[in-house]
Every structure is written in C-alpha cells, then in structure tokens.
Amino acid sequence: MVLDIVIILVKIWFVLVLALTMAAALMWAERKQSAVMQDRIGANRANIFGFKALGFVNIMADAVKMIVKEDWIPPKANKTLHTIAPIAAFFPVLLVFAVIPFGDTLRIGAKEIPLQILNINMGILFLFAFASLSVYGIILAGWSSNNKFSMLGGIRGCSQMISYELIVGLALIGLFMVFGTLKLDSIVRQQNELLFGFIPKWGIMVQPLGFLLFLPAALAETKRVPFDLPEGESEIIGFNTEYSSMKFGMFFMGEFMEVTLIAALLTTLFFGGYNIPYLYQQGFVFPVGGEIPLPHLVVVILQFCSFMCKLLFFCWFQQLVRWTLPRFRYDQLMNLSWKQLLPLTLLNILLTGLVLTLVG
C-alpha cells in the first residue's frame, strides 16, 4: 500500500518535472532555434563568470527577473480575479499531463507499474475538460485588468479558443471511431498493431485527414504565433498587458507547457505514442521474418526514449511553425475554423463511418 503511494508520487514528481523542465527548455529553444533558422546566433550575452552555457544563463536571468520584479495590480482592477487568472491559465494544463501514457507497463518482479499517472476510461474527455478550462484564465485576465485593450484581447482569445476547441474535439472523433475507445492507454496499445501486415497502425495512417484537421486546431489552442491573436504582443494589445512579475511568468510558462502538451497529444494519438514499429513485449518481430529478442527492461526503456524523441520532435516542429508563419487576421481565423475546418471535420466523421461500415 505504502509502496503504491510512493510509486504514484514518483510518477507525479516525474511528470511535474518533465512539464516544468520542458517549459524552461522551450524558452531556451525558442531563442536558439529561431536564431538557427534565421542565420543568427541568438541569446548569448548573459553569463556567470564568463560561463554562458549556450544561452541557458539567459533563461536563469529571466527567471530571476520575473521573481524579483514588482507584482503590480492596476488600480480599480478586480484584485481577486486578477490573482486567480494566471493560476486558472496555468493549473489545468499541468493537470492534463496526468492522462498521457509515457511508457508501457513496467514489470519489476510481480509488481506492474503502468507508466501513466491516471488510467481512466474517459481519458481524452478529461483532457478536453481541463484543457478548455484554461479559457477562463484568459477571459478573467482580460476582464479583471481594468484595461479595454486587455479586455478585447481576452474576448479575442476566448472566441478563438472556443472555436478551435470544437475542431479539436470533432477532428478526434474519427480516431475514436477507429480505435473504439477513449482510454489513451488502449489507444496507444492498439497503434502497435499492423495494417495489411506491415504498416504500423498509427493514428496518422488510419486518420490522415483527421491529423491534418487536428494539427492547425491544436496549434491554435496553444495561442502561439500563427494564431496569437489573444496575445498579439507587438501591435494588437493582448490580454496579459497588465500583468507583471511571476503572474506574467505563469502565462508565459503555461503557453510553453501547452506546446509540450500538444506535442504529447500528437505523439499519443497520431504517432503511436511510446511504440516503435515492430517492437513488441518480447523484442523486435519484423514482418519480413526475423526477430531480435530483448529483455523487458530494455524494451520499456526503448519505448520511453521513443516517446521522448517524438515529444521533442513535435516541440521542435511547433517552434518551426511559430517562427515561419505570419499571424492570421481575425476574420481569416474565424473563417478557417467555422467555414473550412468544421465542414471538413464533419466530412471526416462521415467518411470514417462509411469506411468502417464497408470494411468492418
């Protein structure tokens, strides 16, 4: 009993550390990757005794700055809501990581440890429920700031996130029809099967259109550049204008954690989660014949590494998108959601249903 609690605590600790470390690492990657993409060097001035650590010291300086800065609440702002808003934007994102499986069941002796904090039936619904709560963070931040520009930013953010929440949900329905479950654990397990005997049954193979629809909607959920209308830091003033110090830092970190979350979701739902093609419990079994037996621990470690690699790749990919595409105009954003993506998601559901009826 005590052991179970310890195991769960260790898993929670691991996921917390992963999410928060990824947020800091992405802040660094944001600067350095954009620099590499644009033939620049990137942040390299901050140093501790001349030791720059590839620009990581800049991140430390950022953290110190945010913590020691004055926490200013505008006069006549709603102090309670102004304080709650960053928490409401930050906390749900952190919570959602609980349902992401980051490895297969680990067996040590007779003990079976699923490498997932919360394996519940409604896994993906839990995820949607909490991810959509972060809309409150934005609208509250905008409304409680006593600033009309912040308020407009909050309203823009609210409408954008609600529009794309819908697309995210509908784009995944096809996937659930194929896999027949909402449990993330068994979705990932089913993706290790083979189509026609040799293609891994990854989500992108069975739902290519679903992936193409999910991707932009998921990017819009992170409120980052092609869809950064709520924030619009350079010209249209955003919802977090009246925030300073660590309250702003929480919005900032929440955004980067959402990037990690979307990367984890893309991995889990469309790219086989922790699976490596042809790697099973007993080792590699290739469809052309031949197998490489591997011990259980090696398999689990390989699968965990596979999950992390995919996660990092999609974080990289999102940064690539963020530093390539210009921002959508507001009407383009709404047209994309309601006039283009929404009919296509419905079509995707129809097609999936037809194919499943004809084939299955």
Partner: protein
C-alpha cells in the same frame, strides 16, 4: 516619352493558397532547410572543431568584432592641423552657414600669421543636432574638417556631453589609433 511602370496587381490567392497546406509546407521547408544547414554547420564547427566550414550565422558580435567600414563612410568629424601645428580652419563660416541642422558654432579670432586672416578660437559641434549630411566637409575651402574619425559609439551621459569643442575635435585624431584596423585611416596622426 515617359516610361510607364508596371504596377503590380493585388495578390489573388489561388486554390493552393486557399487550402493553406501546400504553401505552408513550402514555407516550412525553407526555414527547416535553413535550420538543418545551420545546425549541421554549428555541429561541425563547435563539436568536431572543423573551423573551415562556413559558419551557420551572419551575425557580427558588435562591440568585439566590427565590420570593415566603407572608405566613403561619413563618420564623426575631426578638425585638421597645418604642418606647423596651427588649426587649418580660417573661420570663413562656410560650414556654419550651410549646416542644415545649425549644429556648428564658430567664434573667429584674428590670426597672428599674416598669410591667414582669421582662425577659429572656438569651434563647437552639437552631435545631437548633427544629421551627418557632410555638407560642412563639402563646403570647406581649406580642407579643415573631415568626417573620418571612426568612433561609432557616439554616446554621452548628458546633452552637454554631446557638444564637442575645438580641443576634442582636434585631439581626437590621435585617439583613432584604436580603430585603425577597421578604417584604414591614412592620416592617423593629424598632419
């Protein structure tokens, strides 16, 4: 006959632009290629220490490295001296008259040299007003002022600190030894 310019028509998005994906992939492949190319170069240079590889950046780290200045660059002013050590300026007020910013102020005094009528006893230059147009250099009949002092860090702690007087403008020529490497100043020493 006036040649007509072809005015570019406003951009009409075709089907490729309307469905976003082909154009987005094209854009991503360009930036992605830059990332791969530069990252490869960084790895070769800083992990395997192959310094002959073309660097993956075009940045010049400004205070430490400076790019070579153009030989015709208009830089900060300096005043020239004659071979006998007196100031070349004859206080003809040409530069003060032509200056569009009114940043030059000269006080003339009678020269002891019979060949020279006047000389500048005070020669103030307000760099905050100066627009670096170079008219003063063009106007000068005596080649007494040049704009080739390669100090790019023009900054001061106060407005008054940005007003350069005669002594500074005369003496700073010697300081430009510091920047000899960037700007090939033929006359580092003032005469």
């Amino acid at each position: 006959m006036i040649e007509r310019k072809v005015i570019q028509k406003s951009f009409e998005p075709g089907w490729k632009e309307k469905i976003y994906y082909p154009e987005v992939i094209r854009g991503l492949s360009i930036t992605g290629w830059h990332f791969v190319r530069n990252m490869w170069s960084h790895i070769l240079r800083y992990v395997f220490f192959i310094k002959s590889v073309k660097p993956g950046f075009v940045t010049i780290q400004y205070p430490e490295e400076r790019r070579p200045l153009s030989p015709v660059a208009r830089l900060r002013h300096r005043l020239m001296l004659r071979a006998d050590g007196t100031i070349k300026c004859v206080a003809c007020m040409m530069c003060e008259t032509i200056c569009p910013c009114n940043c030059i102020h000269i006080v003339a005094a009678e020269s002891e040299n019979p060949g020279v009528e006047k000389y500048a006893i005070e020669w103030d230059l307000d760099l905050l007003r100066c627009c670096f147009c170079g008219y003063c250099v063009e106007a000068c009949p005596e080649d007494a002022i040049r704009m080739d002092f390669a100090d790019l860090d023009l900054a001061g702690w106060s407005r008054g600190g940005m007003v350069l007087n005669r002594a500074t403008l005369l003496a700073d020529g010697a300081l430009s030894v510091k920047f000899k490497a960037q700007k090939e100043l033929q006359e580092v020493v003032m005469r």
